[in-house]
């Protein structure tokens, strides 16, 4: 199987309240040396045949990420 992984993250300047909430919970685990937590989304796309990076980029750009608030990175991985 040909797999493309798309990582979607909020842009650095966009506030991530979810990440902040997690960061604020860390002291309850006894963790006090974390400066910040940001939460994103990992999307795995399995192509039936060959990896089509162009098509994957189109999927990421038009649907998976909203370029107003999010950045994304694409990479091809070996699927198990």
């Amino acid at each position: 199987m040909a797999r493309v992984v798309v990582d979607v993250m909020l842009k650095p300047e966009i506030l991530d309240p979810q990440g902040q909430a997690v960061a604020n919970a860390l002291p309850r685990l006894g963790v006090n040396d974390v400066a910040s937590v940001r939460i994103g989304r990992r999307v795995e796309i399995d192509f039936a045949g060959e990896v089509d990076l162009e098509r994957a980029r189109e999927i990421a750009d038009k649907l998976l990420a909203n370029p107003v608030i999010e950045d994304y990175e694409i990479r091809v991985v070996e699927a198990v």
Binding site: L10, E13, I14, L15, P17, Q18, A21, L63, L64, N66, V68, I69
Partner: protein, 227 residues
């Protein structure tokens, strides 16, 4: 005048939006997400709710519904479109309005009656109001925090595209207290609070919401007439 109200899978407020349009005096046509035909409507309301389960991002999947392709094209040709709550999110995802709506800053769902100040009455949906007028309508959202880059925000301010702001408390952390924005032409409006829930004394905190629906009827009646 025919106002179309779209139902997506997961829409919640389509019934109330249709009712509000009817009370304002419109003939209401219910539109279905999978049917690209607008059935001759003069204006469209995208209602609140959780279209397609809010999967991925609010409004991200609804944007690709067959009905949305027709609505996007019609909106670019000047047809009045108002997106309420989830409808606002859909309009942003469809790039008919600038910016995006993100998770409420405090992470809590907010449901309360909310005071707004109308900042701009130069739209198809707010011409019934006067700039500076304060209105009370319900707000209920989990992802209503409006964001855009500084340059876009400054442009919105300069062009009078900020149509309403939250006053007496910002319910979701929205940038510059923005509750509603319009496109440059003024035919497309996105609003996070719910005008359709404030049209009858029995169920709403005021009748202020009716103004949005009577505005569009007034606008449609005057189309083609020079200002």
């Amino acid at each position: 005048m025919k106002i179309g109200v779209v139902t997506f899978p997961g829409s919640l407020d389509d019934g109330d939006a249709a009712r509000a349009a009817r009370i304002a005096g419109a003939e209401v046509v219910r539109l279905w997400h999978a049917d690209p035909d607008l059935h001759g409507v003069d204006a469209v309301v995208l209602p609140g709710g959780f279209s397609y389960g809010d999967y991925l991002r609010c409004g991200a999947i609804a944007r690709f519904a067959p009905v949305m392709e027709t609505i996007s094209a019609a909106a670019r040709d000047g047809m009045p479109v108002m997106g309420i709550c989830n409808g606002f999110q859909i309009l942003c995802e469809a790039h008919l309005l600038p910016g995006a709506l993100t998770r409420n800053q405090h992470l809590h769902f907010r449901n309360r009656d909310q005071w707004l100040r109308i900042e701009n009455s130069d739209t198809a949906w707010t011409n019934h109001f006067t700039p500076g007028q304060e209105i009370l309508i319900p707000v209920k959202n989990g992802e209503g925090c409006y964001v855009a880059d500084q340059r876009t925000l400054d442009e919105l301010e300069a062009n009078g595209q900020i149509v309403a702001r939250y006053i007496q408390g910002n319910p979701n952390g929205s940038t510059r207290d923005i509750a509603a924005v319009r496109n440059t032409a003024g035919n497309v409006l996105g609003i996070m609070p719910h005008p359709e829930h404030a049209v009858e004394a029995l169920t709403g905190p005021s009748l202020d919401g009716l103004g949005f629906f009577s505005s569009v009827l007034k606008h449609l009646a005057g189309v083609g007439v020079p200002a």
